[in-house]
């Protein structure tokens, strides 16, 4: 069987494993991103390339060590450099002396036939019903993961025993990853959702509500964003992540085909501060921050990789949003040089700031920030 791999982004390896297995190839899952992954990637990547590109390369090298024969990578169009990652990475690997096949999947907007030819060539199970079954199963897993994560962030801020939700989440990921049959998948999800709802919580507090915005990779991948959702959650902060993998697929891949105007609402919300789609999630960052201000969230945290163009554009708009709508924000720029201690100090100080502001407004009770996480 052909051994196929793909780069990490958050928990998407779980649906991708299912997808590849159903299509009749052997998935090779990259080992979790560690310091080693990062240093392998940065060694062959250009210094000023964005951070995700370097991590992808690290993933590829580590999977080639495990015997991967082909890399699946998404492509795209637009101002963000991501659209060209696949091609650039192919060249970089070639220059560095690695020999591996590369398949770049683009949204089937312009050349549907080409995409179909590629799929037919590579995957043994490519009959329409195979494809539908594989996509459906993978989609169900992705959707269940996102449902769980949404609720997990909410419960984590209120859990009585610190770490309980994160442990449950890790077990859920593992078991869902193992589940093959549809019945099994549904049963695992039901069981863990029940357990999550039963986690003992404190009722006497109104946790700070913070929105997480920014570049999709940094937001979705806990191993590079210093597990920010978990860290904040365990400080007692209700984190609302604004980007989910399934949402991204729905909007960027599907809606863009049948509804060319799908960004209209986002543009309207961000309008006073940013008038164009600037690529990546730049527009989303501004729009979600405006929404957070209007809906009286306590704060916004923006995550961006170093040299990320769309997020840099968004960053220029945020001071005005923050001032007009009285919403505090913190920007964290992450690359291979980011130090955990510095990030933690800024997060703690930001959460302190938010809880002092909440108290001075006479809002609900929050928890004392526990340092040291």
């Amino acid at each position: 069987m052909l051994k196929v791999t793909f780069p990490h982004i958050g928990n998407s390896y779980i649906p991708f494993r299912t997808l590849l297995m159903e299509l009749g190839v052997e998935p090779v899952i990259p080992p979790p991103i560690t310091q080693r992954t990062i240093s392998l990637g940065t060694q062959i990547a250009p210094e000023f390339a964005c951070f995700p590109l370097k991590i992808n390369l690290g993933n590829y090298i580590e999977t080639m060590e495990k015997g991967a024969e082909m890399i699946l990578m998404a492509g795209g169009v637009g101002p963000c450099r991501f659209g060209y990652y696949g091609e650039v990475q192919r060249e970089i690997l070639q220059d560095a002396g690695y020999e591996i096949d590369f398949l770049v999947l683009e949204a089937p907007k312009t050349h549907p036939r080409e995409l179909w030819e590629k799929i037919k060539r590579i995957f043994p199970c490519h009959q329409p019903h195979d494809l539908i079954r594989a996509l459906r199963k993978a989609w169900i897993k992705a959707d269940l993961l996102d449902q769980f994560d949404r609720l997990a962030n909410h419960v984590r801020a209120r859990e009585l025993k610190r770490g309980q939700v994160s442990q449950l989440q890790a077990r859920f990921y593992h078991q869902l990853d193992q589940a093959v049959l549809l019945d099994e998948i549904q049963r695992v999800a039901r069981q863990f959702m029940e357990e999550l709802k039963d986690v003992p919580t404190r009722k006497d507090e109104q946790p700070l509500r913070v929105r997480l915005v920014g570049e999709i990779y940094m937001v979705l991948e806990p191993n590079v964003n210093f597990h920010i959702e978990r860290v904040l959650g365990e400080m007692g902060v209700d984190v609302e992540r604004t980007i989910y993998f399934t949402d991204w697929v729905k909007d960027t891949l599907l809606k863009s085909i049948y509804d060319p105007n799908w960004r209209a609402q986002m543009l309207a919300v961000a309008r006073p501060y940013l008038k164009n789609f600037v690529g990546g999630h730049g527009l989303e960052t501004v729009a979600h921050t405006v929404e957070a201000g209007v809906n009286r969230y306590d704060g916004v945290i923006q995550l961006a990789p170093f040299t990320c163009m769309p997020e840099i554009v968004a960053m220029q708009a945020l001071p005005a949003v923050s001032q007009d709508l009285d919403i505090p924000y913190l920007t964290l720029i992450i690359d291979e040089h980011a130090a955990e201690a510095g990030i933690m100090t800024r997060l703690e100080a930001f959460i302190d700031l938010l809880s002092y502001q909440r108290n001075s407004r006479g809002g609900g009770k929050t928890r004392e920030v526990v340092s040291g996480y």
């Binding site: 560690t34 770490g163 302190d352």
Partner: protein, 331 residues
Amino acid sequence: MKLFLGIDVGSVSTNIVVIDSNGQLLDKLYIRSRGNPVGSVQQGLATVLKTLKGHEIAGVGTTGSGRQLIGTLVGADLIKNEITAHAVACLNLVPDVQTIIEIGGQDSKLILIRDGIVSDFAMNTVCAAGTGSFLDQQAARLNMDIGQLGDMAAQGEHPVRIAGRCAVFAESDMIHKQQMGHKIEDILAGLCRALVRNFLSNLGKGREIKAPVIFQGGVAANHGIRLAFEEALGFPLIIPEHYDVMGALGVALLARDKMLISEQPSAFKGMEIVDSAIETSSFDCDSCANQCEVIELRQEGVLIACLGDRCGKWSNRVHFSHGVRETVQVG
């Protein structure tokens, strides 16, 4: 009398202050850490506790980059990040302060305060140009005392232009200007201006710096930097009397507030810390791919704390083995 301790373990210095329940500063200590935070805290506590015999230590707070380690070691009642600690100390001193400029050993911070609470802050990211360590290094290169460097800079009448964007380039630029024959006072004055420019453009980005401004941290002792800031901003800065220990003061005030409300006894371990042998060691945990660097803290050979693991595998272990002398080195 009930006394409260604040300990700020920074990159360059370890500061300890003692306050009473009115917030009056009774004693302060500024020790160079010299890469040994545990030793300098032991040494500092020994000095402080000797003068405080007979008084009750009712609360202890730690801050600074070593806050976690030292907080665990001494039994702190409160562990707080340095940004909040600095803001609290300033607000206590000048209630209507609007802006705080803090430049320490390797950190520089800009904290904006509106209506008596922190509204925004920024910290230097990758570059340490303009912080105390860089000035220290330049003073050493010019073979002068760090205090002397500031005074000489203040005497510069025609500051030369120095590139302050990067510590290495700034240094080569200074050497170049020396070799061109510029007076050292003018070069140092130019350096101060460059560093201030760097600070304002990096941290001040889009932020409104309003008076009153408090300037603190070790570098506040440098007249050259202070003058350059006043020139750039157009108004005088307030330099508090205890500018060098404001972080420690802030965390002592926070510890006092917490302990006076909770009425619990302090967790402070007291003299026991000073007299015992403290060892730290570290290892890479290889249980999972995170490969956390775990730090073990031992007092008289007994494991008292594990820090740095994400999953809690090692830090939880301490609760079980507390007080029991271990025979096997784990890890």
